[in-house]
């Protein structure tokens, strides 16, 4: 690898790092804004135009608060907790291909921090490390409520990671590669996007992604009513800020991952036509770069939609009870994802990638039948 490519790679890594942080920052603002809109309020609108400076004001407040470490806490682990959470959250964006490639001179550089053929495995490894951030933080606080929250987080993350992995296996079987770029490239035509070939896998993956990010309805590690606050009860100032921030970073990364795996990444319908038209009019190099830019912008559009979806769900669905959460994970999602693998495998034998629609069809039929057979709800007249 010569120096120019190394330099460009370095710039790309820095840009991705910066963009991740920026998006995470403004996710906190967007969350409040979206929450406000969904609840017929306005949300923050005092700091700057439309409240756009709100994240900066929040950060300023966070930095100036007292940084308190409980005397009985394990000091180093206490500091390590939020650092780990932030570190793992930031690491996982490295293998996501944000665009096709940029050409300059004789070089063609893929718009991705590192292109490795074990990309998916890398993300799973890093994501499963993410639970240490919460676990270490909750344990080091030396507070029973924090510990309970951390344990809940750990068991939830471990449970849903299985279903997450299993639902991914179907995609890996179809692509035959662990590289995220290969998975994205396989979805070049619109109806081969994995959302169309793997609808069930997508729903399972999405649910598990919510659980992995500790987002509502799976935000059991933090709970005011049962746990005082959760794993971050004892945290104050920027340490708490890092925990909350890592949640938003995770949200961004998982949104990017979902759109790369199931929504064709930087691909869009009629991409080849657009790319050809651009290369014809602007020349090979400039046209290719512009086409890449369009793809990247659309990819970010998909990411923003999913970030919005995360927020939308948060203000819609109430938190699960813990046994319901575990039942859903172990008794429904894992069997379903195994079934999905089997059916997808069967479909691949006969060269039919849309096989998992069969499961969806059967499930819909069963659901409709069960609703039709269920006893009608009796309207009891009010006694006065």
């Amino acid at each position: 690898m010569d120096l120019t490519i190394l330099l460009v790679k370095g710039i790309i890594i820095l840009v991705i790092f910066g963009v991740t942080l920026l998006i995470a920052t403004y996710s906190t603002y967007a969350e409040r804004k979206v929450a406000g809109f969904l609840q017929d309020r306005l949300g923050p609108n005092r700091a700057g135009p439309w409240g756009l400076l709100q994240p900066i004001a929040d950060a300023g407040k966070m930095f100036f608060k007292e940084d308190f470490i409980p005397s009985q806490a394990n000091k180093w682990l206490f500091i390590l907790g939020p650092s780990l959470a932030m570190l793992t959250a930031l690491m996982s964006s490295a293998v996501i291909p944000f665009g096709d490639s940029i050409k300059f001179g004789d070089y063609t550089v893929p718009l991705q921090a590192i292109e490795i053929n074990i990309g998916v495995l890398y993300i799973f490894g890093v994501v499963s490390l993410g639970v240490y951030g919460i676990m270490v933080g909750g344990w080091a606080s030396n507070n029973k409520f924090s510990l309970l929250g951390a344990i809940r987080a750990a068991s939830q993350n471990i449970s849903y990671e299985i279903a997450l992995g299993l639902s991914m296996i179907a995609i890996l079987m179809m692509t035959g590669s662990l590289s995220v770029r290969a998975i994205v490239d396989q979805q070049a035509t619109f109806f081969e996007w994995n959302i169309f070939t793997q609808p069930l896998g997508f729903i399972i993956f999405l649910t598990c992604a919510f659980a992995e990010c500790n987002r509502t309805p799976f935000d059991l590690p933090e709970c005011e009513t049962e746990l005082v606050g959760g794993y971050h009860t004892e945290y104050s100032s920027m340490k708490l800020g890092l925990y909350l921030f890592s949640e938003y970073t995770n949200m961004f990364v998982s949104s990017a991952f979902i759109s790369a795996l199931y929504f064709g990444g930087f691909h869009y319908p009629f991409m080849n036509e657009v790319s050809n038209a651009l290369t014809n009019s602007l020349g090979a190099v400039a046209g290719h770069n512009v086409a890449t830019a369009i793809g990247t912008v659309l990819f970010f559009g998909k990411i923003f939609f999913f970030i919005f979806f995360f927020m939308w769900v948060r203000w819609t669905i109430p938190r699960f009870r813990y046994d319901q959460l575990m039942n859903l994970g172990w008794k429904m999602l894992i069997p379903l994802s195994i079934l999905n693998i089997i059916v997808t495998g069967g479909g691949l034998l006969f060269n039919f990638p849309y096989a998992s629609w069969l499961i969806v069809l059967v499930m819909v039929v069963l659901a409709v039948m069960s609703t039709a057979r269920a006893p009608k709800r009796q309207m009891v007249p009010q006694q006065s």
Binding site: F37, L38, D40, T316, T371, P375, V380, Q382
Partner: protein
């Protein structure tokens, strides 16, 4: 016996398969929340936009003058007696010759002070006043103060100006209850 007609029968029936799948209900919920996303917000942006609070609102105090510009207050002290928060204090003085254009009665309040920290805007002073001299304006709020010496309002801030006379009418044209213009924040 029930107090409302909104009570619901609790049922612990087994969920059907469709309900156990959660997804139909989740989709339903998402549809409801996204509808609210596009709804018009009922929020009134307070310091910039002010509602008209009606003719019964009790705001800034005013010591009335009569039509010839004479102060109506005769310093009888009934308002101070009526005041449950003991916010009002006054010093009475006798009207001198030549001051007939200033004060309507032979006795007047040389000093009339309302402690705005104590005032609870109950309006009892208004009711107690036999001379219709003290009112709580319905169209003006007491501005926020940040300095300690701004707290006690003397006659300089209470006696009404002749070019800004206070009339209590239920004016439907007044859409907002305005404060002093210097205190409204610039719209952000």
């Amino acid at each position: 016996m029930s107090l409302t007609n909104r009570s619901k029968q609790v049922s612990n029936k087994e969920m059907t398969l469709a309900e156990k799948m959660y997804l139909p209900a989740v989709a339903q919920g998402l549809a409801i929340t996204i509808k609210h996303f596009f709804k018009k917000k009922p929020t009134i942006q307070y310091p910039e936009v002010k509602r008209y609070l009606g003719p019964v609102y009790r705001g800034h105090h005013v010591l009335k003058r009569d039509e010839q510009g004479r102060e109506r207050c005769t310093a009888c002290g009934l308002c101070a007696v009526a005041c449950p928060a003991e916010a009002i204090s006054m010093v009475a003085a006798e009207r001198k010759k030549g001051e007939e254009t200033l004060y309507r009665e032979e006795k007047y309040a040389a000093v009339y002070e309302i402690n705005m920290l104590r005032c609870i805007f109950c309006g009892l002073c208004e009711e107690a006043c036999p001379k219709q001299a003290v009112y709580l304006r319905h169209d003006r709020m007491v501005p926020v103060f940040v300095e300690r010496d701004e707290v006690i309002y003397g006659k300089d801030r209470l006696v009404e100006k002749m070019d800004d006379r206070y009339v209590r009418i239920a004016n439907s044209e007044v859409k907002a209850t305005p404060t002093e213009p210097s205190l409204t924040r610039a719209a952000t």
